[in-house]
């Protein structure tokens, strides 16, 4: 999709000598400038926004990151930080060109401490790789976005990632004990550490860093809180004839004292889509499905699962399956987490939204989403984290058709406005990036927007780090454009 943002026109061409300096710093293989190499960096998991960077640099250590950021500062180059590139908001896209700093070589798991229940990890470690290592110690790091097999920890911290299990276990910010970051001016700074306190600071800067979407600095290392694995897991799957019936059941499920680990919803459209695909798992067609996961010490888990069954039956559940078989669980999660991929196979383009609402307003929200989309004949499919109230409407369209594109943009805006009107927010786990920037003023008053801008004024006043994202008007004006901010 062509971007309408003004920053795309304000590019800062590579200055002579910068590429050579980057190559001598990180090695020639780790600085990419050929168009076919840069193509892999022109978009993210959303695939709606395409902007080629002028160069990509892949530093191999925190010290190299520091020196790269310092070089880019001296050369007045926009700098976009990137992890696995799996984000769904256009966050790591070089909207003003410049240099993408790809942190994938910082992939050391420095330390796993089973005694004090933390790990020390570099920012480029893949989330699933970390959990594989932790499993050997009987531990886990709970945030689990669907992109876990390929997303980096740096990306998950930058987006404050959630996933299917954060109703019980919380989101990324609840697990970041400390972090190391290279600030925009090239200064390294550590906030917190393995003990998870304030480390002498009077302000909680760490709270601003987590979820900062690459606007405040380049993360190089984290200390993350770990927890023991939860014991026995039971998975329940049931169908309901209507969205209302399913989501009323969710309101009771989340009150169960075991605290369900996951409460997921799939609408009948996504259920039918899965059942028509090779990933079919025997879901009841034309019905809404909820998946609930209960985990606990073995002696308690089955009792909790049976109580959950009773709740579901009371709400008129159809086709109830309760299982502790790992293979059943794996198949259900494969279907649920693979649903997004299936959409990619049946539609040229996809716009996924990420609103969070009070659970009591979900039915009203979803009814409006379907009504609006059906009225303009744009297919919409919803599967989401119902326990958290975190809704993901997926609009299917073809961006080569200008009329469809316009309809989808209008639907997205209406959905976001409705979410805000119902007491919700614009994002629960995907972040704002480029995609939702234009909606920020739906949620924030002018005063609240000014407070948000104050954070970038403190750390990245000229917007050189990740320009054109999160807050409108964040354009980097370099000296080669004639004006310096």
């Amino acid at each position: 999709m062509a971007s309408l943002l003004t920053p795309s026109a304000v590019r800062s061409p590579l200055e002579t000598g910068l590429v050579g300096r980057l190559r001598s710093l990180c090695g020639p293989r780790h600085v990419l400038t050929e168009p076919e190499e840069l193509l892999a960096y022109d978009s993210d998991g959303l695939t709606l926004y395409h902007h080629l960077p002028d160069a990509v640099v892949i530093p191999g250590s925190a010290e190299e990151v520091r020196q790269v950021l310092e070089l880019l500062r001296v050369h007045h180059m926009p700098c976009v930080l990137r992890g696995g590139g799996t984000s769904l908001s256009g966050g790591p896209v070089a909207v003003q060109g410049g240099v993408v700093v790809h942190l994938s070589r910082l992939r050391k798991i420095v330390r796993i401490d089973p005694m004090d229940l933390y790990c020390e990890v570099e920012a480029g470690v893949i989330l699933a790789d970390l959990n594989r290592e932790l499993a050997r110690h009987g531990l886990m790091y709970p945030p689990d976005p669907s992109s876990a097999p390929s997303c980096t920890l740096g990306g998950t911290v930058a987006e404050n990632a959630g996933g299917a299990h954060c109703f019980k276990y919380g989101v990324t910010s609840h697990y970041v004990l400390g972090l190391e970051v290279i600030l925009a001016d090239g200064t390294p700074r550590r906030f917190g550490g393995p003990a998870g306190g304030w480390r002498g600071d009077l302000c909680d800067w760490r709270a601003l860093m987590v979820g900062s979407e690459g606007l405040l600095g380049a993360f190089t290392k984290f200390w993350l809180r770990l927890v023991p694995q939860p014991g026995k897991v039971w998975t329940l799957r049931c169908a309901f004839p209507s969205i209302k019936a399913a989501l009323e059941c969710v309101l009771d499920v989340v009150r169960h004292p075991s605290i369900p680990a996951a409460v997921e919803f799939m609408d009948s459209r996504s259920v039918n889509m899965i059942e028509e695909s090779p990933a079919r798992v025997g879901l009841r067609r034309d019905a809404c499905v909820i998946i609930v996961e209960v985990d606990a010490p073995e002696v308690l888990a089955e009792g909790f699962a049976r109580e959950m069954e009773t709740i579901m039956q009371r709400h008129g559940a159809l086709d109830l399956l309760t299982t502790d078989a790992p293979e059943d669980r794996a198949r259900l999660w494969k279907a649920r987490k693979g649903a997004g991929g299936l959409l990619g196979q049946i539609s040229p383009d996809l716009m996924v939204q990420d609103a969070v609402l009070p659970r009591t307003r979900l039915v009203e929200f979803l009814e409006a989403v379907y009504r609006d989309a059906d009225a303009v004949q744009i297919p919409v499919v919803c599967f989401f984290h119902a326990g958290d109230g975190n809704v993901h409407p997926n609009y299917l369209f073809d961006s080569r058709n200008a009329a469809e594109l316009e309809k989808v943009e209008s639907l997205g805006a209406r959905a976001m406005q409705r979410a805000v009107d119902l007491g919700g927010v614009l994002s629960g786990e995907h972040g704002i990036g480029m995609d939702k920037m234009k909606y920020m003023k739906m949620l924030f008053s002018p005063e609240e927007m000014a407070m948000q801008r104050g954070v970038t004024a403190a750390f990245n006043a000229d917007h050189r780090l990740n320009p054109g994202k999160v807050l409108e008007g964040r354009t980097f004006l370099s000296r080669t454009n004639g004006v310096h901010a």
Partner: protein, 300 residues
């Protein structure tokens, strides 16, 4: 100017209360719907008072930090502008997390006037299992718990430290069969013939001479050392190395506290004490200056 209107949505398990409402008042209001604000706190004080006293980091073993259970705020800036920070949803990554930044910061940035709380289903009264153990045995138990799924079941895992004894307390809610199973596991995990008793335990008092955050494995030893050397008593959240210490002799302990503070800081922890002044680091002062300058333009 904007603010969240007061609300209470029992079905959504969220509510907006004035910042000065005590934990007891909040729980009295929501108990009729089978809910509670789950953090085990000094009930006569407000959640905000706990935060201001620096006690908010680890409030409950099961439900996490106090601040993580506060979803949003009405906030009045230093220039008197009312704004909303955060929201009422249990997930939110819409812009910078200013709600938790202002909640957790000890530098005065303005005034919190209302808090939006995440409430939980109340499974029954909190019951305590306690026993006296040596510091080594308590540490052994902590390590055992850190490998067990029971970690996710207990609501509080506390230690009271006095010169004459250390007592480990396990707080748990739930039905009789959960209590029985929990006691069985505790009996197997605590390698001791000491009896396990049931008793009442109050929330951790806010007034103290030091609030300390260390690595979990250091907590018992350091709390014990302070009590042994300077008397008084300490209360420790065993699983995260957080404790509060009070002693009539605390003024004589400034050297010890300063050394302990350095040790905390080395590992990213902290030690707050009325006996030790704090000062803003140069980089923090610079960031705050820029932030506050930007926020001041709101009023003009």
């Amino acid at each position: 100017m904007s603010r969240f209107a007061p609300f209470y949505d029992p079905a959504d398990m969220t509510a907006c209360f004035p910042a000065e409402a005590s934990v007891a008042d909040i729980n009295a209001r929501v108990v009729e719907h089978g809910l509670f604000f789950p953090l085990w706190l000094e009930e006569s004080k407000s959640p905000l008072a706990h935060i201001r006293a620096g006690s908010h980091l680890p409030a409950s073993h099961r439900f996490g930090a106090l601040a993580d259970n506060i979803l949003g705020l009405n906030f009045r800036t230093a220039r008197g502008i009312s704004v909303r920070l955060g929201n009422r949803t249990i997930k939110n990554c819409t812009g910078f997390d200013l709600a938790h930044f202002v909640l957790n910061s000890r530098h005065p940035l303005g005034e919190v006037t209302d808090v939006i709380l995440r409430l939980r289903a109340l499974p029954g009264p909190l019951r305590w299992f306690g026993c006296q153990l040596s510091p080594d045995r308590i540490e052994q138990f902590r390590r055992e718990l850190g490998r067990s799924p029971w970690w996710h079941i207990f609501e509080a895992v506390e230690v009271t430290v006095r010169k004459e004894s250390l007592t480990l307390w396990i707080g748990l809610r739930g039905k009789e069969e959960i209590q029985i199973a929990a006691r069985e596991w505790l009996n197997s995990a605590i390698p001791s013939s000491l009896p396990i008793e049931e008793t009442e335990l109050n929330g951790m008092a806010l007034d103290c001479d030091a609030t300390v955050k260390l690595l979990p494995s250091e907590g018992v030893e350091q709390a014990w050392r302070l009590v042994e050397s300077f008397g008084g008593h300490a209360r420790l959240h065993l699983t995260n190395g957080f404790f509060r210490w009070s002693s009539p002799n605390a003024a004589q302990a400034t050297g010890e506290l300063a050394a302990l503070r350095n040790r905390c800081i080395e590992n990213g922890g902290h030690l707050l004490s009325p006996h030790l002044p704090e000062k803003l680091a140069a980089d923090e002062a610079q960031w705050l200056d820029r932030l506050e300058q930007a926020w001041e333009t709101i009023a003009s």
